[in-house]
């Protein structure tokens, strides 16, 4: 019997939840037993509820928060300012206990292993690296026609100092078979539907990328346990590729003899057209390819947009730049809407995949409205475009220039 429009009778079934909500639940009959209606979570959550500073909440179920650029001014992003990108429902604190956590390595390996976090800490060399992670959909908001998904602007990016062990060391300890082609990552977060048979997300990487010595199985961020919302007690950090490769609440890595086909590996998820398409064009799955390295990009983290300076006053513009698997070769700035450009001073990364910091002195000699534009160039000559590049159905890989407004008065 097909369900129909809501009736008084179906509304009554949801009466107890409805009382809590102060609103009817027309489809109470669809709520799986025991599942709290998502709407109860559709409340006035704030970033502070999750130990975060003034991050913007894009959604509360799943929880997604991004960081305004001016809060990313630190060279190493504090945990309180590290963006949150969830695909499912995180485990709660009690199940995420470090002591009882287990990580399984299986599939195309000589010896499948199950390790505790203590095993990881004692059997492998601990490594600390500054590694940047960016959501593949950062900048999605600026595609036209609109691309579906969380409408990230600029702030789904951060660079923290991670401590863990090299993924390669752990895989080598298990013995990588010649037949291994791709990794498959699994975590403890639940699918939004509550269906235990579904993974919220399970992505992976080709073996060559997985064996890069900068990939970590990490238990600490900035010298402390990482926030639960960023993957505590154990996560992957696979820098330079979409953040979704860096499974949070990591429980298992399976080596496969073929490309992974887990949740959000297929269709339009984290995939872009093989060849450029006109904006809005439907693209068949077979014409899509998996995103690998993220593109060159930069942020202006100081001053904050809307800043006011006195005519003739010197101030410093500064920020960070990064380039996926490559390094940044140069950052140029413009204060005349892109008509002319000048070079910013650019630091080397403290280690590969760390943010490169840049800065430049600026002064306005006449009053008015100005914009500071930043444009990074990578070691292979790719530059940031002024507009969103390569439209794609899900709005990935937007590395357009960041611009801020500045008034000279």
């Amino acid at each position: 019997m097909a369900p129909h429009n809501p009736t008084r009778r179906t509304l009554l079934k949801g009466a107890s939840f409805a009382a809590a909500l102060g609103a009817p639940i027309p489809f109470a009959r669809f709520l799986p037993a025991g599942l709290i209606p998502a709407a109860l979570a559709q409340d006035s959550v704030s970033a502070a509820d999750f130990g975060k500073d003034e991050l913007a909440i894009l959604g509360d179920r799943p929880l997604n928060m991004e960081t305004p650029p001016h809060l990313l001014d630190d060279r190493v992003t504090p945990a309180s300012r590290f963006f949150v990108r969830n695909n499912g429902l995180p485990p709660d604190v009690s199940t995420a206990a470090e002591e009882s956590w287990r990580l399984t390595i299986d599939g195309e390996v000589d010896n499948a292993m199950t390790l505790s976090i203590a095993d990881l800490k004692t059997r492998f060399e601990p490594v600390t690296l500054q590694l940047q992670l960016e959501c593949g959909g950062n900048g999605r908001r600026f595609f036209a026609p609109g691309a579906s998904g969380n409408q990230w602007t600029f702030g789904a990016i951060a660079c923290a100092e991670w401590t863990g062990v090299r993924l390669a060391d752990v895989l080598n300890a298990a013995g990588v078979k010649n037949s291994a082609v791709y990794t498959a990552h699994y975590g403890a977060d639940a699918h939004l539907s509550g269906d235990p048979e579904k993974d919220a997300i399970s992505r992976g990487a080709p073996i060559a990328k997985a064996m890069d010595p900068h990939n970590l199985i990490a238990w600490a961020m900035n010298g402390e346990a990482m926030p639960l919302m960023n993957g505590h007690p154990l996560r992957l950090v696979i820098p330079g590729w979409p953040g979704s490769c860096s499974q949070k609440w990591l429980t298992k890595i399976t080596l496969r003899d073929r490309v992974h086909d887990g949740a959000k590996m297929t269709g339009s998820s984290y995939r872009v057209p093989k060849n450029p398409v006109a904006p809005g064009t439907p693209v068949p799955d077979e014409d899509m390819q998996i995103i690998e390295s993220m593109p060159v990009k930069s942020l202006i983290t100081a001053p904050a947009t809307g800043a006011r300076f006195t005519v003739g006053e010197d101030f410093e513009a500064r920020g960070h730049a990064w380039a996926g698997d490559l390094d940044v070769a140069a950052v140029d700035l413009s204060i005349d809407f892109g008509a002319t450009w000048f070079a910013a001073a650019l630091d080397r990364p403290v280690n590969k995949y760390a943010w490169q910091h840049w800065r430049a002195p600026i002064r306005f000699d006449a009053p008015g409205y100005y914009e500071v534009w930043a444009r990074a160039r990578d070691t292979e000559g790719h530059m940031q475009p002024p507009l969103p590049p390569g439209w794609n159905p899900k709005g990935y890989l937007n590395n357009m220039m960041h611009r801020i407004a500045v008034f000279a008065v």
Binding site: P26, F27, A38, L58, G59, R61, P145, T153, L192
Partner: protein, 150 residues
């Protein structure tokens, strides 16, 4: 219904022209041209959402990330339907979509009818959404593309 979109460049060009006009004086001694130019820009800064197309094209006056981008609705936890527009199909969308995820994500979207149709198929086929009767599905797609259209 959303106001007509005016591209970023029209806005940037307008600002640039105002600045140019202010500096050049246009051959006419106008009343404090710099002050009036700044007044326009600062009014925009004070109320960036009043700018045409502010929500859809990047504008450097935006102090950061703000609310959902669709002009027709914004999330309101105090509202019985969390701020969803009250057009035909609101019950269906609230019921089906909020069973799994926040309505905030719905209200951020700007998708064509064809894309909403794909998204609903994906939700049903891959994401565990209950299969609605055809009439209801059509009503939801109509509601979503009317209120959160491309």
């Amino acid at each position: 219904m959303r106001p007509p979109r005016v591209s970023l460049f029209f806005f940037a060009a307008a600002i640039a022209f105002l600045i140019y006009a202010a500096f050049s004086g246009g051959g006419q001694p106008g009343p404090e041209p710099i002050a009036s130019t700044l007044a326009v820009a600062e009014t925009a800064l004070a109320n960036p959402h009043a700018l045409p197309d502010f929500n859809w094209r990047f504008n450097a006056l935006d102090p950061g990330v703000v609310e959902a981008s669709s002009a027709s609705a914004s999330f309101d936890p105090a509202d019985d339907y969390w701020g969803l527009p009250r057009t035909e199909g609101v019950d269906l969308v609230a019921g089906y979509c909020a069973s799994c995820h926040s309505l905030r994500i719905v209200m951020q979207q700007s998708a064509s009818e064809a894309r909403w149709r794909e998204l609903m198929a994906w939700m049903i086929d891959k994401q565990g959404m209950a299969q609605p009767p055809d009439d209801d599905l059509e009503q939801m797609i109509g509601y979503l593309s009317e209120n959160f259209g491309a």
